[in-house]
Structure formats: C-alpha cells, structure tokens
C-alpha cells in the first residue's frame, strides 16, 4: 500500500468531469483538484492506465506524488479537508 497525492489540471469540462469520477473510485477528494489515496500497486497501475486513456496528453496534466511513510506522518491538515481511507477496519 502506497500513499499518493494526485492533482490534476484539465482544460475541458466534460473530460474533467469524467476524470473526477474515475478518481473518486480510487481516491478521496481532499480539496478542489486534489485527491489522496492509499493504493496497492495493482490498483495504481489500473488507475494510471484508465487515466491515460481518458486524458489528452497535450492539454491536460495529472500528477501523482508518492509519499513515503515518514512524509505521511508529517502531513498537516488544517481546517476542513477530507482524508483518505486508511487500512484495516471499518465498523458502521
């Protein structure tokens, strides 16, 4: 499981919508245009693959920042923001 911060900049509204929806299936929107996720290598590859098919290389940009465990601990969240789903146990 690796931690990613994913940001995007998409020129076209329709495509941005599609990419937003796709990202939501893997990651949590923490801010406008910023997602965070904890992904297995397999899921990361799939997400990347699907994004590459949706985006337009010459006008759009999507960046994955990978965070090591130490950097994850140093993340500071001020105010109102989402948080990615951790590992383990969820009880409702």
């Amino acid at each position: 499981m690796k931690h990613y911060i994913i940001t995007y900049d998409i020129s076209d509204d329709k495509r941005r919508n599609k990419i937003y929806k796709l990202l939501r299936d893997y990651a949590v929107p923490v801010q406008y245009s910023v997602f965070e996720a904890r992904l297995k290598d397999e899921d990361y590859l799939l997400l990347r693959y699907k994004l590459e098919r949706l985006m337009k290389r010459d006008t759009d940009s999507i960046i994955f920042y990978r965070q090591c465990i130490r950097c994850q601990k140093d993340i500071l969240r001020l105010g109102r923001s989402g948080e990615p789903f951790g590992d383990g146990i969820f009880i409702l």
């Binding site: 299936d25 297995k40 799939l46 789903f85 383990g88 969820f90 009880i91 409702l92």
Partner: protein, 587 residues
C-alpha cells in the same frame, strides 16, 4: 489453414485451429475482468478430450522459467495476478489499441492467434512482420536482457507460424518495451530442439499430474504465484536444513474490512465505490479497491448490483445475525482447482486418512488450550489450573495410540470439559462476570455469548480461507459431513479456537473493554447489544490483524494470513507434496 475471425472493429485477425472452442470464450475486451483465454482454451480441451490438449505458447517460457509455475497455471488453472503480470497485460492492451501499421517496405499484423497440430501449441503472436521475410516479434516489459526462455518462446511462435504458412522463418525479434529496443533471435537447430523438449516436458507434467518442486530462489521474488506456491516454506518443511532461507512473502493483502451493523442501512454501488446509507444519511462512501471483506449483520439491505461487482472483484460478503449466528458467505464461484478437490474426496473415503488429519486438528486444539492455561497460570498459580494442565498433557500423549474417530472425540470431550471447568479462573475476580459451563443456542450468560460471537467470526474467516485455497468446505475429516455445515472449516478452526477466540474473550473482559452495559438479557438468552457488538467486532478484527511470529518459520505475519497458510499446507499434504499436516501451535 485455420478459420479467420474478425473481432470488433479492430483490425486484428486470429487463426483458430478449431472455432468451436473459441466460441465458448467470452471476449471481454481485456479490461479488469481478464479472461486468460490461452489457459481457458487448454482447460476446455482438458475436459473434453485428452488427445486434443494444446499448450499455450506462453507456457513454453513458463516451463523453462519454473515448471511449478506452469503446473499451477495450466493444471490447476491459477489466475493469480500481481503488479508485474498486470503491467504486462496493460501494455499489451495499449498496443492492441493501435491499429495495423504499414510502413514502407514492410507490414505488420498484431495479435495473431495461431496453433500447430504437430507441436500441439496454441497462442497469440504479438506481432507478425513481413518485409522480404516474415518473422514474429514478441513484446516483453522491462528493458533489454538476454533470456533463454524468451528466445525459446519466440522460436516456438516461429515454428508454429512456419507450419501454418509453409514458409521458412530464420529469425524472430523480442521487443523490450521499457528500453524500446529489439533483440534479434536466430532460430537455430539447438533452439528448435529445446522447444520440442520443453513441449514434451509440459505434456509430461500434465499427464502425470506430478507437482514440480519449488524453485525457492530469486525467481520467486516477483512471482505472482508465490502466495499459493509457498516456495520457501515448502522446501523448508521438506528439508529442515533450508530453514534459514524462509522469509515472508510480501504479497499478502491486508485489505480493508467493512462491517455494517445498522438496522435499516442500505449498502449499494456508486461508480466503483461502496455506498452505505441510512434513511437520508451517508454512512460511508468508500472505493472498492482493496476492500477484502464486507460483513453484514442483522437487517441490512444490499443491492444486487453491488453483490455482482464484489464477486467479480473477489471481495467476500459474509452474513451474520445480530445474535451472533454465522449464516454464510457469498464468494466468487469455486476456484478451478479440481485436482485438490479430488484429493480431498479421496482422503475422505479412507478411514485411516480421516483419522490422520482429525488427530492433528485435535492435537492442535488441545495443545493450544493447554498453552493458554499455562500462560495464565504463570501469574495465577492456581491448583485447579495446574490440575487441568497436567490432565490435558496426559491426554495429549494418548493421541498417537488412538485407532478410531470415536475415541478421538472422547479425548477431545474430556479435555474440553476440563478446560471449561477452569475457564472461570482465568477471568479476573474484579470483573463482574462468571462462567459456569459452556452453553449455546441460546447462550445463557455473557461469557458464553461472547464465545459464541467469537466462534462465528472465526468460522467466517476460516471458511473463506478454505474456499480461497479451493477446498470443498463441506467435506471434513473430524467433523463428519452430515449436518450441512462447513465441516472442513470447522476442522481447521479447532486449533485456532483457544488462541484466537478464547484468549480474545478473556482479554476484552479482563481489560474491561466490554462490560455489563454491553449486554442485553432476553427471555431467549443473553446477547450483545448494538454498542457491544461493535466493540467486539473491532476487537476481533484487531486480533485477526495482529502480527505474530510464526513458530516454525520465525517470521512475522498477521493471523489472517496464518489461516490461509494452514489451509494451503493442508492442501499440499492432501496433494502429496508434504508429508504431514502440522497444526499451528503457539508458544
């Protein structure tokens, strides 16, 4: 020549040896579902007629690389996937999207399906190119390297093409995607004879059903099958001197577990996410990726759409009652490992075999019971405890002389009685709970209620481990199979009862995690209430995720992986690869 078939609008065409087989295959476009069609073809053929077994061309490289890998993929139908395999497939998929390329001087056709009657091979050539000559090109992920098994694969492709086209092919290419370079392979006599030898070896393995010994070296590092194959563990169990080489395989998945225990909640799908609502409120909206289990308890609704996608992704759905009864689970259809199920049924037919396994399950249970008592006795130094400990120990010695299942059950009964007689001593005096005797359906007191909940949760995990490995869960050795209960899961569970559930119940009681307010007494028995259940689910899952040092291999891994490990070892014993089943004994 084979038949010609156009698939969709893609300009790729496929030669088929026999269209009938292909028609049975669903072309799923190659998205997340991944039908491994080459293997599928072989499996179909295995079923119908032994003379028409065709090996997938890609298997040639597999046999050379590791014959065991070949055995798992082709004979047992394993479709395990890891990041390496997935990456290769995605690259292949990307390539297939581009259409046919025709540059000056030569033309190129992608994804050509070919088969050979002489070599009995079938498969897809990534690219066939033609200038003055014709030659196959094989794509490999990664960067330029020399690899004999790749060479042999290209050579096999070329030989099959030769047979189809009736032309000589003298060279082939391997294209390395990462370094974007090709390497020429000259197809000489020695390479060709190696292809023939390898094909023969493949058929030998299929016909004899022998499981090749594990490689247990650097090859296993990135192997998608390591989790099923357990190369280091097996070679250590077969040969004690290799003990040092064992290390945990990093591929176990510590996925997420979602419990829904909210009366009236509705669990459904939204995009590729799981979305739980109650009335108008969203309780959770979580991506499906890396979700390992969904556990529903009580009156919770789940949509058929979600069930479908969960099964597709291999996520299990378990159903519990609020009273702690385990109803069962939804799992993807049984794995293809029919070889294992046949072995299991065979063992079930033989009394001596049944007794052999049943004895080990009981041994595991009794030893772990004793260990639990010993642990507590270290601080308590109670006379009754000591008595029970010695009694169980003396009974354990008798296990080896047992000749019938009934006397085995007798010993188990005596020890359990002794154990539960002193169980109350293990609960601290300050805790307002008492345990007199084990009772269930319905439990009469809180401690029995907790034990009942715990065993149900354990059944959930052991039966899923048993099914993941490919067993028939209803054929057991100790628990006979006439109650319509998952007998094998109950068998394997025995050794884990004391160390997972009993000790957990003691922990939550002694630490005061669960107290008087968490129970409700009804006429029908004592049960956990809403808050109590949630606390207990959490405690149980935490125990399941807890890391423990493996007593034989000395590495750390979570309990959840140990359940699977034990089930896999049992499978390997049944299939004749290991000699005896060793229960999991804690120190």
């Amino acid at each position: 020549m084979g038949s010609l078939l156009f698939v969709g609008s893609k300009l790729s065409f496929y030669y088929f040896h026999n269209l009938e087989y292909i028609e049975k295959l669903r072309w799923k476009g190659l998205m997340v579902g991944y039908v491994n069609y080459e293997v599928l073809i072989v499996m179909e053929m295995l079923k119908t007629n032994n003379e028409h077994i065709y090996l997938p061309i890609s298997a040639i490289a597999e046999i050379l690389y590791c014959p065991r890998n070949f055995y798992y993929r082709v004979v047992e139908g394993a479709q395990d996937l890891n990041a390496h395999v997935l990456e290769g497939r995605l690259q292949e998929d990307r390539r297939n999207e581009r259409t046919r390329v025709a540059r000056e001087g030569y033309s190129q056709v992608r994804s050509v399906m070919i088969s050979s009657e002489k070599l009995r091979l079938i498969g897809v050539v990534d690219v066939v190119e033609e200038d003055s000559e014709i030659y196959p090109v094989e794509y490999k992920k990664g960067s330029l390297k020399e690899s004999l098994s790749d060479d042999v694969q290209v050579c096999a492709q070329a030989m099959v093409l030769e047979e189809k086209l009736g032309r000589d092919i003298n060279r082939g290419y391997i294209y390395y995607v990462q370094s974007r370079t090709r390497r020429e392979v000259v197809l000489d006599e020695s390479l060709r004879s190696l292809v023939e030898k390898t094909v023969n070896r493949g058929f030998e393995i299929i016909n004899s059903g022998e499981i090749p010994t594990p490689a247990a070296d650097a090859r296993c590092e990135g192997c998608a099958l390591a989790r099923r194959c357990l190369p280091f563990e097996v070679s250590c169990l077969v040969d004690e001197s290799r003990k040092k080489t064992v290390r945990p395989i990093p591929c176990f998945n510590q996925g997420r577990v979602l419990y829904v225990d909210e009366p009236g909640a509705y669990v459904r799908k939204k995009g590729e996410r799981i979305w739980v609502t109650k009335e108008k409120d969203t309780l959770i909206d979580m991506p499906l990726c890396n979700l390992e289990q969904v556990v529903l308890s009580g009156t919770v609704n789940i949509s058929a759409q979600l069930i479908k996608i969960l099964l597709e992704r291999g996520t299990e759905v378990h159903f519990l009652s609020r009273g702690g009864k385990y109803y069962g689970c939804l799992q993807p259809s049984l794995s293809k490992n029919s070889v294992l199920r046949i072995a299991q049924h065979k063992a079930f037919q033989s009394n001596s075999q049944c007794l052999k396994y049943a004895r080990e399950f009981v041994r595991g249970k009794l030893t772990n019971m004793r260990t639990l008592l010993v642990r507590h006795n270290r601080t308590q130094k109670d006379k009754n405890l000591l008595l029970a400990i010695t009694k169980i120990k003396s009974m354990l010695k008798k296990l080896d002389d047992i000749t019938s299942l009934n006397s085995l059950l007798g010993i188990e009964g005596i020890c359990s009685k002794e154990y539960f007689k002193v169980f109350n001593c293990l609960i601290k005096d300050t805790v307002p709970f008492n345990f007199n005797k084990r009772n269930r359906r319905p439990p009469e007191d809180p401690v029995n209620a907790l034990l009942g909940y715990g065993y149900s949760l354990l059944t959930k995990d052991i039966s899923s481990a048993v099914q993941v490995v490919g067993f028939d869960p209803y054929i057991g050795f100790l628990h006979r199979s006439n109650y319509g209960r998952p007998a094998l899961a109950l068998d394997l569970m025995e050794e884990f009862r004391p160390i997972i559930v009993d000790s957990l119940v003691l922990k939550v009681l002694n630490k005061g995690v669960i107290n008087k307010d968490d129970f409700e007494c009804q006429v029908t028995g004592t049960f956990l209430n809403d808050s109590g259940r949630k606390k207990f689910y959490r405690a149980y899952e935490e125990r399941r995720h807890e890391m423990i040092t493996h007593p034989i291999f000395n590495y750390n891994l979570p309990y959840l992986r140990i359940f699977e490990l034990q089930a896999r070892f049992l499978a390997k014993v049944l299939q004749g690869e290991l000699y005896e089943y060793k229960p999991f004994l804690v120190r």
